[in-house]
Symmetry: C2
Subunit: 305 residues, 2 copies
């Protein structure tokens, strides 16, 4: 998996467009992914913001194939492959590996709550052993507010010792900086790449030696987020971070996924883009126009779209 080096910098958990029958829309998806790559961000397709768990395994495989067959670079892709059933995770992970993706972002199984670290270790171990390829690169996905199944520091330690090289890093979407900091100090020096779960912590993560961030707003504000990742040692880095925060704050006033899609729909003049799959719901018309207005006031644009 991967090419010359590890995947790093800014990745976008790519929002998934649906057509009027709620089917994944491959054409819109490829076009959006191409724009993201052109803007300088990688493709963490099938993340939380992608409504990945609202799609079947077959739908995700077809979308990944569409992207790669369209010529987009798998070395810039980190598809989400963690499902509740390890058999599904194995199938998706094998496919990502076959298509030469840089790595996979893997949720723990998230139906059962309060499961012991032993069970989570065994879940990752089953997948790794069954896939059985030395070039597999797994990025753990720690997002307790949604999954309700945390990945503890002790579990990371155990996985890293058992599968060095394969356990390649983490996306920390805990929103708890002290947790990210602990991971940076303890694991980053051991070829374990720490990605912040949003650009809010991008500068701090890079200063702490981390790899970058995987962020929802990478879908709409990719160029400026990627710029900070490239120029974080510049004297204006704090000002760049503050500018990113301003845009993010606007989105955070709405349910994130519908808001991202509404912004894309507006800037592409393509209302179909606003569609979400249940259990999510689209923004109300009033919310949509308020969002668009707030973004304009913040000087937001989506150049090259």
């Amino acid at each position: 998996m991967g090419g010359l080096g590890r995947i790093c910098g800014v990745l976008s958990p790519v929002v998934t467009p649906f057509d009027s029958e709620l089917r994944p829309d491959r054409e819109r998806f490829v076009r959006h992914c191409r724009w993201l790559i052109d803007q300088g961000v990688g493709l963490a397709v099938f993340g939380t913001n992608s409504e990945a768990n609202s799609m079947s395994v077959g739908e995700k495989i077809a979308l990944l194939d569409a992207l790669i067959d369209a010529g987009l670079p798998p070395a810039r892709m980190m598809p989400g492959t963690g499902c509740c059933a390890f058999t599904d995770s194995v199938e998706l992970t094998r496919h990502a590996l076959r298509r030469r993706c840089a790595g996979v972002l893997m949720l723990p199984p998230f139906y059962y709550k309060g499961v012991p670290d032993d069970g989570l270790f065994r879940s990752y171990a089953e997948i790794i052993e069954r896939v059985g390829e030395s070039d597999l690169r797994i990025y753990l996905y720690h997002i307790p507010p949604v999954s309700q199944v945390p990945i503890s520091l002790a579990l990371i330690e155990r996985l890293l010792q058992a599968y060095p090289g394969t356990i390649a890093g983490i996306k920390d979407s805990s929103g708890d900086w002290s947790n990210t900091q602990a991971m940076l100090e303890r694991f980053q020096p051991r070829e374990f790449d720490v990605f912040a779960g949003s650009e809010t912590f991008l500068l701090a993560t890079l200063r702490g030696g981390g790899a970058g961030c995987i962020t929802a707003t990478g879908n709409v504000n990719p160029r400026r987020i990627a710029e900070l990742a490239r120029r974080w040692r510049d004297p204006d880095a704090d000002a760049r971070q503050a500018a990113l925060d301003t845009v993010r704050t606007v989105f955070q006033q709405y349910p994130m996924i519908p808001a991202l899609k509404a912004a894309i729909a507006h800037h592409r003049a393509d209302p179909q883009w606003a569609t979400v799959r249940p259990p999510l719901v689209e923004l109300l018309p009033l919310q949509q126009s308020a969002l668009v207005q707030a973004l304009e006031s913040a000087g937001f644009s989506m150049p090259g779209l």
Copy 2:
């Protein structure tokens, strides 16, 4: 769906046996289901206690086919078909309907938390519209401690009005008797069958006009639970309930699914039965023997196994 009347009484969320390669074991599964039917309980296969979400859609379809092809009665089956992706729920539900199951037990999509009732309504509506059969019977599955996505009384009201007849009832695994009571009062008179989530509330549910219970311990103590459901008007009903509670209390001192499987493994003298899929873990040997001893002290047995 269903035969002469609605499915009611006691159902067991059937535990799923796995072989040494962690594959679902059809032979052991059919044998256990046949024993459960002989003991007088129905088959809520693919519930929480079945590790249903630890299996792929294909694995569940194959298990359901194995059961029905072995001659077990679909009129006594209520397979769980609710997945995170409505496309998966549609596929499983269609299959259950094609095989003439009495009904399906349907979790809400459970990855996203804090979703509005609108989104949950739309999720059930999509499935119902796509399946598009008037003999579909959906039993909602309310299990907030695990799914973290509750099914509110307001949502039930809305679903019942939109899809009377199709929305056929609920399994209430909230553990909150006041919630079950509210459902019994408000919805049971409207051909909406309320099943308690465990036998702890069986007598109270039947006295309140409810349909029965769907209970984990139905896997190991089926006959006596089914007896209470048949004889709940008898003068010794409270004593029967107390006896059931004694057995359940023993199981509740351990993680439920591994404990159920350990008890079956012991009584069948078949250690393979104890196997669980990750993220669950088996009981430790010391826990197993303590469980067996506690069950013996409680006068527990599994006749006819």
